[in-house]
């Protein structure tokens, strides 16, 4: 395993913010640490990137212990943190060349590498402007490029798209997707199920400093149940009739007597079949809503299940 995390514990004062977090990332794969605000994602990433010392447990990057051999670890990783680590009063190009020279590419090598990366993250036109004139999305892309000056064995991305507009987010996803195709091992943190789904091979769900669930996005989704259709009816008898008519599709009574819910694949075809069936049976429908389980639902479901198992 390229990244090996074993029972990490971290306390801030009397508060335990990581309580035995373990996971592993095989080389060439993408792992998403998914969790709400305050779950301990940043703390985990900071420990792995040698910025913070754990109070218990251990972590190794390519076999190097993050506490005992920090310099060896630093030579293998790059970190793009939650807040862009770029100099406002340097241009994008100067920022990149500075990193190249710190990594001993030499003046010429650093210049060449900076030019390549500026093109790659689509900042060619803004290369010689001060970063203080960049938008949030441009800053993140520069920050990502700074992590790639020397291609890292492991790339840490802490909430790479939080606070970005949808266009910048999808640009960022494309950039990360390209890296992954080139074989970079990535550990990213996110609050968005969709982002984990889109980018990650495996997801570690973390909540309150503990791993609440772990698996491929498909595995996790099947544990959560997929999309649902919520049907509303003008009266109770219509609702009960609908539940009977759609029993084969897994329909059940909703939260009140006027509604019914049933699992769906989210497709229009399924919706049409359901409505056709109700129409043929002469059951009037007043409203149809499709809903996906939100991240909150995920946490309720998974942390709830976790508590029951341990009690």
């Amino acid at each position: 395993m390229l990244v090996d995390v074993d029972a990490l514990v971290k306390n801030y004062g009397s508060r335990r913010v990581l309580d035995g977090v373990s996971f592993a990332v095989p080389a060439g794969s993408v792992l998403a640490l998914l969790g709400p605000n305050g779950a301990g994602k940043t703390t985990t990433v900071r420990i792995l990137s040698t910025l913070t010392r754990p109070d218990g447990g251990s972590a190794r990057i390519a076999g190097h212990d993050v506490v005992r051999s920090p310099m060896a670890v630093r030579g293998l990783i790059s970190l793009t943190g939650q807040f862009a680590a770029v100099d406002e009063r340097q241009t994008g190009r100067e920022n990149l060349e500075m990193i190249g020279r710190l990594r001993r590419l030499g003046r010429v090598g650093a210049r060449r590498r900076a030019a390549e990366l500026l093109d790659r993250v689509d900042l060619g036109a803004a290369a010689d402007r001060f970063v203080e004139t960049y938008s949030g999305g441009m800053r993140r892309r520069l920050d990502l490029a700074m992590s790639l000056v020397v291609p890292p064995a492991v790339l840490f991305l802490d909430e790479p798209t939080t606070g970005l507009d949808p266009v910048s987010r999808s640009t960022m996803w494309t950039a990360v997707g390209e890296l992954v195709r080139d074989g970079t091992t990535v550990l990213l943190t996110t609050q968005y199920l969709e982002e984990a789904d889109r980018l990650a091979d495996r997801v570690v769900l973390i909540d309150g400093g503990r791993v609440a669930a772990e698996g491929t996005p498909e595995e996790l989704k099947s544990r959560l149940g997929g999309e649902r259709l919520l049907l509303a009816f003008p009266d109770g008898p219509a609702a009960s009739a609908a539940v009977r008519a759609l029993a084969a599709d897994g329909a059940a009574c909703g939260a009140d007597a006027l509604t019914a819910v049933l699992p769906s694949d989210g497709g229009a075809e399924h919706l049409r079949r359901v409505l056709d069936r109700l129409h043929v049976a002469g059951i009037p429908v007043t409203r149809v809503t499709a809903s996906r389980p939100s991240l909150d639902d995920v946490f309720l479901a998974l942390t709830g299940a976790g508590t029951q198992e341990t009690v």
């Binding site: 010392r53 100099d87 710190l102």
Partner: protein
């Protein structure tokens, strides 16, 4: 599985420091307000002391000749103090974390700030001395005396900059970093910079004669204008070397404390 770690050469820390010196110099050059203040303030003080107060101050010779070394020390104290907010600013941003997650020597960032401070101060001192010469200041120093005066000033600036860097690393904000260096701007007034210490009340005089700035000023004054130096020379060198050792240690400690894992 253990991938081979890149071997770090002994020269690595030096090379990394040089890159970050370049960064700090670039950032200083672009911080126009700070740079202008660092030059304009000593110029204004010099004009004020020479043309406004100077007439009333008896120093046994031309007041301009007396006051220029003091103005230079005031100037470099002001310039060195600017290291504190610069370091504090870096500490509050992501760059310090990026550098700490890279294979870069821990001392490189602060070294960059301190050396950039020396460069800023060399510029400001040059401007102040040139203005003084334009106003009629006529140093009679030999090349060797110039070199000795500049060497002493260099030690002094290094020591104060390292002290300011340490304060900047500890400060919780850029503003409080500036406030913490207040005494650096204040100490020159409590020395022989602007008036001979003999004119002060006993208590102040004791302070003024035993604080580091007085011997440094007396020595620079003696080297540049031929005034007697006496024991001030050794005292100045000892003060500066001692301060440099202590403040470098303090800066290293403060940086480690701030970035404690």
């Amino acid at each position: 599985m253990t991938a081979p770690a890149l071997p770090r050469h002994r020269s690595a820390a030096l090379a990394e420091s040089l890159v970050l010196v370049g960064r700090s110099v670039r950032l200083s050059r672009r911080d126009v307000e700070t740079l202008v203040m660092a030059i304009a303030l000593p110029l204004l003080m010099m004009a004020l002391f020479v043309y406004v107060f100077g007439g009333a101050i008896e120093t046994g010779g031309a007041y301009l000749t007396y006051v220029v070394p003091g103005i230079v020390l005031l100037c470099v104290g002001f310039g060195a103090a600017a290291t504190a907010p610069a370091v504090a600013d870096d500490m509050g941003r992501g760059m310090v974390d990026r550098l700490r997650s890279m294979p870069v020597a821990a001392a490189a960032l602060v070294t960059g700030h301190v050396v950039a401070s020396v460069a800023r101060n060399a510029l400001a001192t040059g401007v102040v001395v040139a203005a003084a010469i334009a106003m009629g200041f006529r140093p009679d120093a030999e090349p060797l005396e110039w070199a000795a005066a500049l060497g002493l000033l260099l030690l002094y600036v290094l020591a104060l900059s390292a002290l300011a860097a340490g304060l900047g690393a500890l400060a919780s904000s850029v503003q409080s970093a500036s406030a913490l260096t207040f005494f650096m701007l204040f100490l020159p007034y409590l020395s022989s910079a602007f008036v001979p210490t003999g004119t002060m009340p006993a208590v102040l005089r004791a302070v003024a004669e035993h604080q580091p700035i007085t011997p440094v000023i007396e020595t620079v004054r003696g080297l540049l204008t031929g005034a007697p130096i006496g024991s001030a020379g050794w005292a100045a060198v000892l003060w500066c070397v001692g301060l440099l050792v202590v403040s470098s240690g303090f800066a290293a400690w403060a940086y480690r404390r701030r970035t404690r894992r």
